[in-house]
Amino acid sequence: MRKSVIKKLVLVALLSMVVPATGFAADTIKIGVAGPHTGDLAPYGIPTMEAAKMVAEQVNAKGGVLGKQIEVIPMDDQCKPEIATNAATKLVSLDVDVVIGHVCSGATKAALGIYKEAGIIAVSPSATNPPLTQSGDYPNFYRTIAPDDDQGKLAAEFVTDKLGAKRIAILHDKGDYGKGFADFSKQFIEAGGKAEVVLFEGITPGAMDYSAVVQKVRREKADAVIFGGYHPEASKLVSQMKKKRMKIPFLGPDGVKGDGFLEIAGKNAEGVYATGPMDVSNLAVNQKAKADYVSKYGKEPGTFFDQGYAAMQTVLNAIKVSGGTEYAGLEKALKSSFVDTAVGKIKFDAKGDAEGVGFSVFQVQNGKFVELK
């Protein structure tokens, strides 16, 4: 007797949870925002969530999209693939229309299959792992950040096409970041077929000097050096190349492009090239987004704020253009309609990477990094 009472109570409780969730479904557009909102990596996820909420608030204040209010549903994945699958399942069961996220590449990959089966589009502000788009496994995936290999591709193209180098030496610091950049550069130089890689070698970070490897670059008669790594090693390399009277161009990734390099390498930095994310700080949309953020939260926005803001803008634009939240309509809109976002005027290419987002080459001129157009 008592047991059946409990059963009924449980049933009532369950029903009462289900009813409100479905009750408002028709009236709002639900955007899931998945990423690390707790744990070590939370600083990478929270800015995107804040950006999505800010865009939603502003759009809602003007009457929403297609007359519907935007509802942002944050979902924590702690950047862990196993938690990301749970988060994705939960978002699907909450019947979200589009997902902004995830943030880390590993977590994104784990979640994408679930969205794919549910027919939900995911736009990540930060998952840079190249195969996510290039493999073609996830047609429902888009991102507002350039993939990892973009930088290596740009470096390869710049050195072979703009600098006209034929014999390129590639050095790296053996770390994930530095060697990754070096590997991609090598891959694109070889694929381009305009130049050969005459030296591909790791150096030991923190070694006293690099004069032996600099001599090796000279012996190989290299006419350009691409270095994958950070600024302390880059400074040492350029100053030793100068000491050995070598005048060939030197190019590093965004780990070199910073004040640290300018300060330590001093006048040896002059003329050094570095790739780095395009400067978006002078875009009107970007400036407004940042100003809104500062006035709301009283501090500067964190990592991936721009990309998160842009992801939300592209999604809402696609919903508006396609007149609904149907998969096919959204896909067409995302790939065809340009949007003025916080990272520039973008649309997505056939694979889901944003066109008009990415890296530029900078050169040190008079002690400052200047973007080369």
Binding site: V213, S239, G266
Partner: protein, 300 residues
């Protein structure tokens, strides 16, 4: 052939810096059988003092070489004071303790000094001015050996000759050799052993500081951590040559420096440490007491 010379020059430069630091390890070990792990930190502090002093002198309008000499001098004095104090605080109270105690104390001092510089200065790399000017007469062979490299080689050679003279022909040198052979007996015949040990630390620190200043102006950047790797390499050099043996430390340092340069040049710079420590293992298998380690009675 030219490539071989280029690599040799690079190896000798590294070797001389290692030698300047290794001498401190080997002298201290020779006298009190202690591996002074904080020695690399003295080298780092020497470089930092020189950086600060040269900054100040530049403001007062001094020029290249005079800054190098003055900054070097002040760095040497500071480092000597640190070496002296280090011995007094961390090792002297443990003179009669079990051998492991001063060793732990040395590791503690090493960490302490690193973190002290990290907090008092900065965790970032700092630019070090190129204090050694480019000589015109070196220009034709600058790609093999530049002015800075020449100055490093000459300074190290002069320091080593001075050390040899000091140990062979002066009173304190004699006292050092006596203390090394038998501390108790030396004390009985009137040698002030405490003074001798202090002097040994001071000399070792002076040499390390010279190395620090030279390296700073050669590669143009320093941070609080440079002493660790340099210390490990110099210690390796000292063991390679036979720890406790002064010519052995220099020989070991040169072997190590040249091995690294040839390994980087002819094989791969990614593996230079592998070859450096591979040579150490090989030599210790063939000669467990190091290259010159057999000459026990000669060591200081």
């Amino acid at each position: 052939m030219e490539y071989f010379l280029e690599l040799s020059s690079s190896g000798l430069v590294r070797g001389s810096i290692y030698a300047l630091i290794a001498l401190g390890y080997t002298m201290v070990y020779g006298i009190i059988q202690l591996i002074n792990f904080a020695h690399g930190e003295i080298y780092m502090i020497g470089a930092f003092v020189a950086l600060i002093v040269s900054g100040v002198l530049t403001i007062y309008g001094f020029s290249g070489v005079s800054i190098l000499i003055l900054a070097g001098l002040i760095a040497v004095i500071y480092a000597a004071a640190y070496g002296y104090t280090l011995e007094k605080i961390a090792y002297r109270p443990l003179r009669n303790a079990p051998r492991l105690s001063p060793l732990i104390s040395a590791i503690g001092m090493s960490l302490f000094l690193q973190n002290y510089v990290l907090l008092a200065q900065t965790p970032d790399f700092l630019p070090f001015p190129a204090l050694i000017p480019d000589f015109d007469f070196m220009e034709p062979i600058a790609h093999i050996m530049g002015s800075a490299e020449l100055v490093i080689l000459v300074t190290s050679a002069v320091s080593m000759v001075a050390l040899t003279v000091l140990i062979k022909y002066t009173r304190i040198g004699k006292a050092m050799r006596a203390t090394q052979q038998d501390m108790t007996m030396a004390r009985l015949v009137g040698v002030n052993v405490d003074n001798v040990i202090s002097t040994t630390f001071i000399i070792g620190s002076v040499l390390a500081a010279i190395g620090g200043v030279l390296v700073g102006s050669y590669i143009g950047q320093i941070n609080f951590y440079i002493g660790f790797m340099a210390g490990v390499k110099a210690f390796t050099a000292a063991v390679l040559g036979g720890i406790g043996n002064i010519p052995g430390a220099v020989l070991g340092a040169m072997v190590l420096g040249l091995t690294e340069a040839y390994a980087a040049g002819y094989i791969s710079s990614a593996y230079e440490d592998v070859f450096a420590f591979g040579v150490l293992v090989l030599i210790l298998i063939l000669r467990p007491s190091g290259l010159l380690g057999k000459a026990v009675t000669q060591k200081v």
